[in-house]
């Protein structure tokens, strides 16, 4: 073996520091190479240099300088900061790795063990280290704890190419797909309306937007059907309770009136009381989708926000690698060691002490990921102050982990039926009689107790009153980000690593907005245009088919170059169809762009003139924005100042105190909510 050092390539600087400290058994020596920090250390008599990428430092693009020309089918890998601004800092990292590779005799890819990590490491080994992807070694770990890292370096494996090939193919296919369709749509709108706006359609983004549009159409076309809900008030010895009519939905007004007439003032008898004990098993360990959904349910955090917090916790070695599909916790993660660590944290010590009374054994889910276990805490205590979001996610991960070791809970479920002549009323409820795992999961368990009056079969009650309430069918709910993520998982599109970003892109592009992901006119127009001129682009089938083929590339049964050629042929056809209809496509997109922009300036109805709309207006003299009424030309002088920094978005409901619009001011720090009326009583109070 030559006398060089081992060059270890990590995915991010924080990971590099942890790897270096773990290998050195303490503080490794830091030095700067081309503006980036690298670590030198000695381990078992061998020299190591640990360096880091910054996520992807190479990106795909086309060789042409022109950014509006399409179709584009030449794809090459470039230094990421030359591709777009998200790659800032890539040049320095690449240059450092190039220099360091000159003195290295051994190479270790220690990026996260998944498709993206493989691709990042593979590209650096190939391009910056001069073809060292062959012969390099792979460090595989699921947490950044010292124990896990040392174990992975003692068991280095040869670098395989399957994951990286699939990752590179995915990047290339997504680039060809996105760049051509996006340019076709954006250019059509430019030609038609003389305005340029990025209108993108990604491979997974298209079908995902399709889900939102399909639901949006159901909502906007919805016509509710009336029905009636009937309930009775039952009295005996001064006590009373309410029970609902057994048929939840009475279709006609006359039917509801008949029930009221026939039951009111007469006697009802308890015809049955069914009590049962139901066993509720503990929840399965978290994979990334489950964590994102649960975090949305518990805290309202978007999937991308949850992912970011989970990644920070992972880089701090507080939780395991979060981008996992696994719902299993193998014994190899060391249950006892993790529980022992959690016992040192005051909030969990009592729970852990209870769980450790018997041999801990977690429930396992069906989700399997060959690379990583389910998300779990490492047992390490935070060494810095965690932000509010990180703290919430950390607590959720720990409590879920503890809950998986808990015994099943038991709930008593009671169903009572009452007969009043030919009519039947019912009530039901449940209460937890044995908390089991719910005790450890705490407020996240989501079960509530509903106590019922103590009644027995044959008890007689006086029907003191029967009420009938006119109701209407509810329109279907919009997908919030949590539900959309669930839908993507169910339909098996996107990957666990990309779904959150795809949802965030739909918002950034102006296709959907708000917590309820209401689709804009632009979102509708993009899907409508695709459905008319290139329907398979937004179809699930094509996206799924490519996903399956990428899996075959990963397994080595499909050649990535063939797949790329196949995709190029398919895209060429669709782009041709769009191009042939450039005028019609452009008109449709341009009109939707204008409508979406115009609607984004509307804040709500004017509470002064009652007929106009309050809008965001920019003063021609001062260039400052403020709120003005659309009826200004007719004399309405309603106006209000606005914060000059940040993005303004109207809230769903106006101010409850003054009826003026409420807006969110979205800044880099955090969004805040404000009633725009400077004379609002709520503001004076504050």
């Amino acid at each position: 073996m030559s006398a060089g050092y081992t060059l270890v390539i990590c995915e991010k600087p924080d990971a590099a520091r942890r790897v270096a400290d773990s290998l050195a058994g303490g503080g490794a020596n830091r030095e700067r190479v081309d503006g980036t920090t690298v670590f030198r250390l000695k381990r078992n008599g061998e020299d190591y240099v640990v360096c880091a990428a910054l996520g992807h430092v190479y990106g795909v693009s086309d060789p042409s300088e022109e950014r509006t020309v399409y179709p584009v089918f030449d794809v090459e890998w470039y230094q990421a900061d030359l591709v777009d601004e998200s790659g800032a800092g890539a040049g320095g990292r690449i240059s450092a790795v190039k220099k360091l590779s000159a003195g290295a005799s051994k190479f270790v890819n220690a990026c996260d063990f998944d498709v993206e990590g493989e691709t990042i490491g593979f590209n650096l080994l190939r391009y910056a280290c001069g073809g060292k992807e062959k012969g390099a070694l792979r460090a595989k770990f699921s947490t950044l704890t010292e124990e896990d890292l040392l174990r992975s370096f003692e068991n280095l494996e040869p670098q395989e190419g399957g994951l990286a090939r699939a990752g590179r193919a995915r990047h290339a296919i997504d680039f060809v797909w996105g760049v051509n369709l996006s340019r076709a749509l954006s250019q059509s709108a430019l030609v038609s309306g003389h305005r340029y706006r990025v209108v993108s359609v990604g491979r997974v983004q298209g079908p995902t937007l399709g889900f939102l549009v399909e639901r949006e159409r159901e909502i906007r076309e919805f016509v509710p059907i009336p029905y009636w809900k009937v309930s009775g008030t039952f009295e005996k010895d001064g006590g009373k309770f309410v029970a609902a009519y057994a048929n939840d939905r009475v279709e006609t007004q006359s039917g509801a009136e008949r029930i009221r007439a026939e039951c009111g003032g007469r006697e009802a008898v308890v015809s049955s009381v069914h009590k049962s004990i139901v066993q509720v098993g503990p929840p399965v360990p978290f994979n990334i989708g489950d964590l994102q959904k649960e975090s949305y349910r518990a805290f309202g955090y978007t999937p991308s926000r949850t992912m970011q917090a989970a990644e920070r916790l992972y880089l701090d070695a507080l939780i395991s690698y979060p981008r996992t599909g696994s719902q299993r916790l193998p014994p190899s993660i060391g249950y006892g060691r993790i529980l022992g660590g959690l016992r040192e944290m005051a909030a969990y010590s009592a729970s852990v002490a209870e769980l450790m009374k018997s041999e801990p054994k977690p429930v396992q889910g069906a989700g399997f990921d060959p690379a990583h276990p389910a998300i779990h805490p490492t047992g390490e205590n935070p060494k810095r102050h965690l932000g509010a979001v990180e703290n919430s996610i950390f607590d959720l991960v720990i409590r879920r982990f503890l809950a998986t070791f808990g015994p099943p809970a038991r709930r008593e479920v009671v169903d009572v039926s009452l007969a009043a002549g030919e009519h039947e009323f019912k009530m039901g409820g449940g209460r937890t009689v044995f908390k089991g795992w719910m005790k450890y999961y705490g407020r996240y368990s989501g079960y509530r107790d509903a106590d019922l009056p103590r009644v027995s079969e044959g008890d007689r009650f006086f029907v003191a009153g029967v009420s009938m309430e006119a109701k209407f069918e509810q329109k279907p709910p919009r997908y919030n980000q949590g539900r959309l993520l669930e839908k993507m998982e169910k339909e098996d599109i996107g990957t666990k690593a990309t779904r959150a970003d795809i949802i965030a892109t739909l918002v950034d592009r102006g296709y959907a907005s708000g917590e309820s992901m209401e689709v804009s006119d632009l979102g509708l127009a993009v899907v409508e245009t695709m459905a008319r001129y290139a329907p398979s682009i937004i179809s699930l089938e094509l996206t799924r088919e490519i996903e399956e083929k990428l899996e075959s590339v990963e397994a080595g049964s499909q050649n990535e170059a063939d797949l790329l050629r196949e995709t190029v042929r398919s895209i060429a056809t669709h782009v041709g169809d769009l191009s042939a209809n450039e005028d019609a496509v452009g008109r449709q997109i341009d009109m939707a762009v204008m409508s979406t922009i115009s609607k984004s300036f509307v804040l709500g109805p004017c509470p002064i003139c009652k007929t106009g709309e309050l809008r965001i207006v920019t003063s021609k003299s001062t260039n400052k924005r403020f709120v003005g009424c659309s009826n200004y030309p007719s004399g309405c002088r309603a106006s209000a100042p606005l914060p000059q920094k940040g993005r303004i978005r109207a809230a769903a409901k106006p101010c409850g105190l003054c009826s003026w619009p409420v807006v969110y001011v979205i800044t880099r720090r955090r969004p805040w909510k404000i009633c725009v009326n400077p004379a609002c009583p709520g503001r004076r109070k504050a």
């Binding site: 909502i219 906007r220 076309e221 059907i225 007004q253 069918e473 329109k475 008109r587 449709q588």
Partner: protein, 85 residues
Amino acid sequence: MENLRQSGMPREKEGLKCPACGREAASVLCRYHEEAEERVKAAYPHWVKAYGRMEWKDYLDSVKRNPQTGQWAKEIAELLKGDSE
């Protein structure tokens, strides 16, 4: 219950705009409002059955005012109401 296509509204022509939203019209209405029109009409018998009796105009008023009614269905109810007056 008159169909918008049978009313005095403009006939199908190249470049016609939907009177409800200004989008390009498939015939008289854009495809979204066409579907909404079908929904509004299909729901009418259910409302008549629910209330025992209901005039078409009263139905359109109720649909328009109902907070559960979708935006396009409301716009169609408004158009149909104007059309039946």
